[in-house]
Subunit: 398 residues, 2 copies
Amino acid sequence: MNQRDLSIAEWPLSERARKLTSSAIREILKVTEQPDVISFAGGLPSPATFPTQRIAEAAQRVLTDNPTASLQYSATEGYLPLREWVARRYSTGDVTIRPSQVLITTGSQQALDLLGKTLIDPGSKVLVETPTYLGALQSFSLYEPKYVQVPTDEAGLVPEGLTPELVDDARLLYAQPNFQNPTGRRLPLARREALAALAREGAFPVIEDDPYGALDYRGTPLPTLLSLAPEHIVHLGTFSKVLAPGLRLGYLIGPETLHFKLVQAKQATDLHTPSFTQRVAYEVIKDGFLDEHIPEIRTLYREQCEAMLAALGTHMPEGVSWNRPEGGMFLWVDLPSQIDSMELLQAAIAEHVAFVPGAPFYANEPRMNTLRLSFVTVPPAKIDEGIARLAALIRARI
Amino acid sequence: MNQRDLSIAEWPLSERARKLTSSAIREILKVTEQPDVISFAGGLPSPATFPTQRIAEAAQRVLTDNPTASLQYSATEGYLPLREWVARRYSTGDVTIRPSQVLITTGSQQALDLLGKTLIDPGSKVLVETPTYLGALQSFSLYEPKYVQVPTDEAGLVPEGLTPELVDDARLLYAQPNFQNPTGRRLPLARREALAALAREGAFPVIEDDPYGALDYRGTPLPTLLSLAPEHIVHLGTFSKVLAPGLRLGYLIGPETLHFKLVQAKQATDLHTPSFTQRVAYEVIKDGFLDEHIPEIRTLYREQCEAMLAALGTHMPEGVSWNRPEGGMFLWVDLPSQIDSMELLQAAIAEHVAFVPGAPFYANEPRMNTLRLSFVTVPPAKIDEGIARLAALIRARI
């Protein structure tokens, strides 16, 4: 053997690494970074909502008041005052969340990785919505589960679809009940109650991933699954959509017995989430800032959403349908069945407009005539222009 | 079944999660957090070395100059100027490191997790030093390898011990050639060359974990394995020991072919390391700050090390031996063979002094009469007092 044969390309990779392929979204995002593209593809919150000045002040304060603790190694579980803040925020009249149930994570994405580590063996059955969040599929897939899709309709997951046969032997059910990524759908109250009842009866965890719950345009929240079945739900939250994603701060709320395993897994994964960013975030939010700030984000996103709905109504041809989200960052488009949104994307990029095709959001059996539109980062005039271009491309394919 | 039977304690955990046990170090650190304990147990750098003022100024600058980019989602690979800085710093006359080989990680601990994800299958053979870094054992263990210990002596890993039988079918060799945690040993040049030659010939990666290389008391560094076999080494570095660990910033340098898999694994793990901390660190170091700062850390740690060596020489009875580190944060003590350092720790804690027993640092067949002492955070007068107490306990057991 010569030296070339022994290059790293020949190094033995793990089974899971050999299965890794490049993410469709990732490749798309590269293209849409060009400034002249009107991109409805990104999952980025609007930077207009970042409280930069407050974050700058908070950074100064924590480094002045507690320099050592802000820069030293710290507890794997997270900064205690931040965990207490989360526990208070999720406690209601009926339900008390204990700080010992809260784990601070390096973004919600890390919570998904830790749950994969602690709950999924190769071949484990994992139940997901149809479609579901691509980032969760990416995280869980490293632990090589077998995905089973739960039936959904316009209102989201259909609890009656969770037949004994479907749930038999499942390791977990993963769902985003609020303004789901990618569809923007919100699960109605009766379905939440049915799912919570199933969580109480079932012997597997329901993972309630809730990055968008606060972005409820009318301020009429529905109860979380956590509040309906507090001992049987693992709830994931994040500061990415209400503060700033570049801080990479999320949290997991779950029963203490699971918590213990998750903490050990996190210790092995990154020791702890940065002390500095945790303290900065706590300093920003501790006096009620989010209660003023979140309504501003809601107002902005509602207006953005309305601009997109208006543009879709104006430009889209017969045979194209979409939902009217009541919150969040995304809406979901159904195209006539002969149109493949992957092909449409190629054509769209040539016209300097971008979106995410629906296919990668399906664990199995993708519906090729679907796509996701994000409406939060493009100014309304550009939304109209971008949707007009997209509509012309669709019309040409009908 | 009643509801109790269905509590989360009954939820099916993954095989790897069932094997997780609480870390000995973790439990010990809890005890030693009491302020009246003289603790040689911690692996914490001295907070006297944190450049707080510079970090505070940098935080203001990045939030003033680039608020959106500092707070928005960013590339999985890391902040490009920081990757370029790492590449420049590791390039020598003979060896050019490309930014495309550099991945920014959420602390070095995350690099270990990503390497476990991409290189280790259940049952894979992983070669480690005797003893080795406990944090690496914790990370890799989640991927269920079979550990094989490589023989070591006072100078560290013995390359002649890497027999064809020992290395046959190995997935990787993990080593800390500089001032190893836990022993403080530095691998001599001839052994580095032998290991580099083996890396060039072998079909498995050598992971060179180098958190302490910069903390070389005499400023006489030895070449890294990376510089000796640049296409065949995965090198891990960190800002934890030269800037501040609470930022959780590390980096991995490796061949592009592996890099591609690591980036995908990182995307699934935490999307990216915080944009904010990466930009703050770059702002602090970009103009050569570390070249002034590292010599100050070296001087402090050398003086601390000398204080501990003096105390050991004064107080320890015959039959106890230790090494004289030329850098880093730790030294390694051999006790008479009848003394079990786990039992000694129980007695030591009653006397308000703490250390880490050697056993957890062995992948297999622990030597119970060993212990690790950290000398960087305790003031010299307290070092003398703590070592005197420890010596008395040891003397009582001879």
